[in-house]
């Protein structure tokens, strides 16, 4: 692999992630609006929101770690995108595998936690405590999915996982070869994206008692940018593991949008869990389903 290709990939991949992420956020907000019988935001609204926040005249910082936290969140996700192969671009995916990616994805969470911690607002700290508990919940079924993928494809290299599914056709896609695991995967995606009923720590009604309490201006703008990366990463990862990735963007993007449409559409049906209740539910259902799926995979082999 030429260094020019790598350089091109690592520049373009986060950019594409951001643009597709903006569209995904637009889809999320429009879906919700239609279900609530509203029209929803105009096409460029997600971008306008970010630009508005970055352009605010008054920016409040609570200290260097507050700044660093936001830098780590945005920077961490930019790094994650470089390791997530998409059609035509491998980026750094051959330099780190799925397990490395799982741990890379925890770096932004840590950055967020650090930044909020420095704000010295007890409500922010409570929000982080809840967010980390939620992470302890969804990461367990998430890692079970990773284990299943490693067992099914015999590798943890993402480009190879895509190649195996592309060569084998639809029958070899994860969703066909391990449907139970795919179910666990989509539920986990829902929880990871903190959609209702798992949005305890970022619910709009709980802004004052959540991690976002001291975030405004470019700090909030950074978090809006990260939201685009977050939904993109979740959709692409599920598509890569279960839907065979994609050869071109034309068969890849519809899959990503379809995967995310499900959580975006059903989220409105639910009320909100208390922090501990949600954790218990995640340990019971997606984890249980994932264990069942794993057992099926190992009995098949």
């Amino acid at each position: 692999m030429h260094w020019q290709t790598v350089l091109f990939d690592v520049v373009v991949m986060p950019l594409v992630a951001f643009i597709v992420g903006l569209l995904l956020v637009l889809m999320m907000r429009r879906t919700r609006a239609r279900l609530e019988r509203r029209i929803g935001p105009p096409f460029f609204q997600p971008l306008y929101d970010i630009l508005k926040l970055y352009a605010k005249e008054i920016q409040i910082s609570h200290g260097f770690i507050h700044d660093l936290g936001i830098i780590m969140v945005v920077g961490g996700y930019i790094t994650v995108e470089m390791f997530l192969p998409v059609p035509g671009m491998v980026g750094l995916a051959e330099k780190g595998d799925l397990i490395a990616l799982v741990y890379l994805m925890m770096v932004p969470s840590l950055g967020m936690a650090l930044g909020v911690g420095q704000c010295a607002n007890p409500n922010g700290s409570i929000g982080i405590s809840r967010a980390l508990i939620s992470m302890l919940g969804y990461d367990i079924p998430f890692v079970l999915v990773v284990v299943a993928a490693a067992a099914m494809y015999g590798t943890t290299s993402l480009p190879e996982i895509i190649a195996i599914q592309q060569q084998g056709g639809v029958g070899s896609w994860g969703i066909a070869s391990m449907p139970v695991m795919a179910l666990a995967g989509i539920i986990t995606t829902h929880v990871m994206l903190a959609k209702e009923p798992f949005e305890t720590y970022i619910a709009p009604a709980e802004i004052a008692t959540g991690p976002m309490v001291e975030m405004g201006g470019k700090f909030m703008g950074g978090l809006f940018v990260v939201q685009t990366f977050q939904v993109y990463t979740a959709g692409v990862l599920f598509t890569t593991l279960f839907l065979g990735g994609g050869i071109t963007w034309f068969d890849f993007l519809p899959k990503v949008f379809a995967v995310l449409f499900l959580p975006f559409a059903i989220t409105i049906l639910f009320p909100r869990y208390k922090a501990g209740e949600g954790l218990l539910w995640v340990w019971k259902w997606p984890t249980g389903i994932a264990l069942l799926g794993l057992a099926l995979i190992f009995t098949q082999r």
Partner: protein, 623 residues
């Protein structure tokens, strides 16, 4: 006199220097220089560490029928390097202001002598070349660490006395195993051990392996022998606690690697079928490691004292090393051994930071701290790097060693243990954040307004450790250069690697790329952030409180019961079962000893003595 002999002599000189200059202010710097000298001599033996040679010491002690000797092998070199390195940095930490403060109420000489004794006895242990030498080294290390633990007042004495029965039991288990080997083959050399195993029955083999494992597990503080460690380590004087936490327990791992992996080997660990045919000694060892990972991590989560949190986390991390060692996967073994290094660097750093905080604020109670990042930024930096390593996230070295363990476990199809490792890591993310949040983030308390950064004699060793954590995370090949000769010595195929990358059958990991682009990512994040106009710094009380006002009188810091939702859920699972087990065993022992005392004290002691003498002489005659 070769380099190895010089090293042993210098280690002895360091002990003597501690004894004679222990009260002088410059004594600490002298000791630090002497440790540096030991490190130089060790690096002079690089042929051992890098190329797998070995050097025998001229030191040999004849006992009837046997000659004790010592030998520097790649395995010993690796552990000796860690020991001397930890000794050097801890000695530097204690040499300046921390030592002066310590001397006001405690004996600095005692600390210096015991630290040097620990280093010297650990050098003897890791270079022992036969079972008897191993046992002697083992006892020396146990007593030396006891001396280091016992210095800080009544609480420390209580904790150290709790360690005593564990250490004795461990030593007895080891002695029993050695006796079993000796009875069977009549030799104590390492070479003869494997040959004798072939002649042993299933029951004998199980007994031998379990005795060995239990003996070594006590030192590792593996479940169920873990209860002694948290208090004993956290009550030790700061520099001593950092040393003990970083490397002392890993002597157990050294012995496990040497005896169980090299001398016994997986053909016996995995090959002996049990009373029920489905369980092997390897299974027992892996299960104990898994329990150690989980229990250590989730008990650490509940600690309010930063020192106890670190000590419990150390137990959990030891479990990772054992998982790597006993999985039988070469990559996981490489990970387990690398993790000894990673762990030593960040655990020493973390202990040093916590004791620096105690030095400045007088407490390690995490409910009484907060907001110190603005006062002690360097300490914060090292603590941040340390917790990233402890939680096993990139770019710190803990990530690479844990990644190798994960991959190895996956390659072996050990999904259960892989999940255990991941769940342990998630627990560690939670307690790591609690540690950094409750000490350094949140609101600064009024009484800490005037706190200053720790003095340079303390920050320099901390920063060196921080640099090591980062450098070996960036370039894991540095550590793998030491680990692969050890693996070759243990008879395991080492993995392929370069300076930054580790190649495996499933997928590669290249830390040079990963970390470089992580930094690029952060750089882009910083550019985006700082290009958006200046932010205005506000006071910590200038924040939104939902209609309430935060004033100087009613400050509040969210730290007590940090994860309430989780505690509600898993709280009932903490049942102190091992405390019950410990007190049960102790009561039983008291009962037996009281009974035995009653017999020999009250009824005709002379008669029992006579009978004993007759029996012994009878045995003598028969033998």
């Amino acid at each position: 006199m070769n380099a190895f002999d010089q090293l042993l002599v210098l280690a002895a000189v360091t002990v003597l220097a501690g004894l004679f200059t222990g009260r002088q202010a410059w004594g600490g710097w002298l000791a630090t220089l002497l440790y540096a000298g030991q490190l130089v001599l060790l690096s002079g033996m690089a042929a051992v560490g890098y190329d797998g040679a070995s050097i025998s010491s001229g030191l040999a002690i004849s006992v009837p029928g046997f000659v004790l000797h010592w030998e520097m092998t790649p395995l010993s070199w690796f552990f000796a390097l860690l020991t001397v390195g930890a000794g050097l940095l801890c000695s530097c930490y204690a040499a300046g202001e921390w030592g002066r403060r310590h001397a006001e109420s405690h004996s600095l000489r005692l600390l210096r002598v015991t630290l040097a004794l620990n280093v010297a006895s650990m050098l003897l242990l890791v270079t022992s070349a036969d079972l008897l030498g191993l046992f002697i080294g083992w006892e020396l290390v146990s007593w030396a660490s006891l001396l280091l633990m016992i210095q800080n007042g009544p609480a420390a004495v209580r904790a150290a006395l709790r360690y005593l029965p564990y250490a004795m039991a461990g030593a007895m288990a080891l002695l029993g195993a050695i006796a079993l080997v000796y009875v069977h083959g009549g030799t104590l050399g390492f070479d003869g051990l494997r040959a004798q195993l072939a002649g042993m029955g299933t029951l004998e083999l199980w007994t031998l392996l379990m005795l060995l494992f239990a003996g070594f597990a006590v030192k590792m503080a593996a479940v169920p022998f873990h209860l002694w460690q948290p208090q004993a380590y956290s009550e030790a004087p700061g520099a001593g606690a950092a040393f003990l936490g970083a490397i002392s327990s890993r002597m157990g791992l050294f012995a496990m690697a040497l005896v169980l992996v090299k001398l016994v080997g997986f053909e016996y660990l995995a090959g002996v079928s049990g009373p029920q045919a489905w369980v092997t000694p390897q299974d027992v060892m892996l299960l104990a490691s898994a329990a150690t990972v989980i229990i250590g991590a989730y008990v650490a989560l509940r600690q309010d004292d930063a020192r106890l949190l670190l000590a419990w986390s150390g137990i959990s991390q030891g479990g990772y090393m054992m998982l790597g060692l006993f999985s039988g996967a070469p990559l996981a073994l490489a990970g387990g051994l690398s993790h000894v290094f990673s762990y030593a660097t960040y655990e020493a750093g973390l202990f040093m930071v916590v004791f620096a905080v105690i030095h400045r604020t007088g407490t390690a109670d995490m409910n009484r701290l907060g907001g110190l990042v603005t006062r002690m930024p360097l300490s914060f930096l090292v603590l941040l790097m340390g917790i990233i390593g402890l939680a096993g996230l990139p770019p710190i070295n803990g990530f690479v060693s844990k990644w190798m363990i994960y991959r190895g476990l996956l390659d072996e199809g050990m999904v259960f243990y892989f999940m255990v490792a991941v769940i342990g890591t998630l627990g560690s993310v939670l307690y790591c954040y609690k540690l950094i949040h409750n000490i350094f983030l949140g609101q600064l308390r009024l009484e800490h307004e005037a706190v200053r950064e720790a003095p340079w004699s303390m920050t320099v060793p901390m920063l060196i450790l921080g640099a090591l954590m980062f450098a070996t995370g960036y370039m894991p090949g540095i550590v793998l250069d030491w680990v692969t000769p050890v693996m070759a010595y243990l008879g395991v195929q080492p993995p392929e690697y370069t300076l930054g990358a580790i190649m495996t059958a499933g997928a590669d990991l290249d830390m040079l790329w990963l970390v470089s682009f992580m930094l690029v990512g952060f750089g882009i994040g910083a550019v985006i952030f700082y290009s958006a106009g200046r932010a205005q710094r506000v006071h910590q009380l200038d924040n939104y409180a939902g209609g309430h006002f935060l004033t100087a009188d009613t400050r509040y810091q969210y730290s007590y019961n940090f994860y309430p939702a989780l505690n509600r859920l898993i709280g009932p699972l903490y049942r102190n079962s091992f405390q019950w087990l410990e007190s049960g065993v102790l009561s039983l022992m008291n009962f037996i000893s009281a009974g035995a005392q009653g017999i020999y004290r009250s009824v005709h002691p002379s008669l029992y003595l006579l009978a004993a003498v007759v029996l012994v002489s009878l045995f003598w005659g028969v033998a």
